[in-house]
Every structure is written in structure tokens, then in C-alpha cells.
């Protein structure tokens, strides 16, 4: 396989799937912080 093709698909995949992973992490961090806060508040909403 040509080096240019490998470079293009690697960069393209990283940019596309990297954004998917970043949003997944964003979703998880929101919930994790909430659960931590919920616990520290004694379970009150």
C-alpha cells in the first residue's frame, strides 16, 4: 500500500474517531462528576 494512502487514512481515521472518543469521554465525565457530587451531598438530588 502506498505511503500517502496510509497517511491519509490514518489521519482521517484519527480525526473522525478521535472526535467520537472525545464526545464519549465528555459524556462520561459529566455523569462521573454528577455521581460524585450526588454521593458527597448525602444522596440528596
Amino acid at each position: 500500500m502506498n505511503d500517502y494512502v496510509i497517511a491519509a487514512y490514518t489521519i482521517g481515521s484519527v480525526l473522525l474517531w478521535g472526535y467520537v472518543i472525545s464526545m464519549w469521554l465528555e459524556s462520561r465525565s459529566v455523569v462521573r462528576r454528577h455521581l460524585h457530587d450526588h454521593k458527597s451531598s448525602g444522596g440528596r438530588p
Partner: protein
Amino acid sequence: MSSVQGKLVRSYWIAVALLFAADLVLIIHYTPDERSMGAVQKIFYLHLPVAINTFLACLTAFVASIAYLWQRKGWWDELAAAAARVAVQLCAVVLATGMIWGRAAWGVWWTWSPRLTFSLILFFLYVVYLVVRSSVEGRERRAIIGSVYAIIAFLDVPLVWLSARLLPDIHPGSIQLEPAMKLTLMASFVPVTLLAAGLVVTRFVLNRTSSAAANSDQANNPREIRTAPFVAGATLHGPKAIRQTGGAL
């Protein structure tokens, strides 16, 4: 979000990843090399579907912005912001893959041909859209300014589309493909389009989460906030949760 919805979302992304991988196998092992350009032409199977989906994301932002100005419903603005954010990401892929192809085909990473120039302008127009949104105070004011800007920014899309056809341009305007190449191109549209649609929807739900948090914070009303995709079986409550969600675009 219920656990069933969470499982569906995860299944969706796993299916897209598998389709993406299958498409790569198709491109590498099934698709023949183009006669004049050789294997470098295979960049085209990522470049074109992502470019078309960039236009679709810009179109979504355009339509949602018009709908917001018409109906003044906040979720139209959030959809426009989500589509614009994804358009930036997709346009970055178009520019990167195009530059690599240009280096192989023309011997230069960049040339100021009409299509390349309008594509770069498109990228910066939507980057500026995101910057403008994040710098404007007030939800309604931000939505109005963002909507007007997104409508104007979309005018660059037909320029990108038509530039290689109407103006003298080094960028290919059309390309003749063998049946196996056409099949691969059609197949490549499936994972890329599903990925782009998934990104817009996910970004939209994250925007809704942030917006709901901001509204609740203003009203100091401990209402329930639904969580973003990927995460199953959890909801947010109250002002503390509201502060944590931030103001994602």
C-alpha cells in the same frame, strides 16, 4: 437515558466502526488501482464521502438556523451548533486528505486553486462560527447572531461545489470510475455518512444537556437533566449538576 437506549447507542457506534473497517478492507484488497494515478487514487474513497458529508453538515446548520429565526425554538440553534461543529471536523479531514493527495499527484502540499481556497475558507468560516458563539453572552442573542452567521457562511458551500466546474482549476471536477471503483465509492458513503450523522446527533444531545443545565441554573430550578449519549442509566439533578455540565458548543 435508559440502559436500553445506551445499549442501542453503543451498538450503533460498534456497527459504524465495523462498517468502517470493512470498507478499509474493501478499498485495500478489492478495489483496483487507477491507471494514471496508481494506488494514490484510493485516498478519493475517504476524501469524497467526507467532503459530501461536510456539505450536508453545513446544510443542516443552514436549515436549522433558518428554522430558528423563523420559530425561535432553542433546539434549532443547538442543532445548528452541533452540525457546524461536526462540519469543522469533517472539513479538517477533507483538507488533510486532499493535501496528502495533492502532494502525491501534483508534487505540492497546497496550491491556491479556486476549490482548495474556497474549501479552506469554508473551514475557517465554521471555526469562526464556533468562536463567535462561545464569545456572545446571552442564549437568545447568541442564537440569533449564530443563525445569521451560519446562513451567510453557507453561501461558501455552492462556491466550493461549483468552483472546479466553472473556473479553471487544477482540482479534478469529475472522474471516470470502473464498476469496482464505483461500488467501493458507494460503499464508502455508508460508514462515513453514518459516522457523520452519529456525530451530529451526539453533539446535539450534548448541547441539549448543556442548554438544559444553563436554563435550570438561571431558574434555580432543580429539574432533571438527561445525560448525553454513550452513557446509560444516569440522570442529573439540581444546581450542582447544572454547574458541572459547562457550556459545550
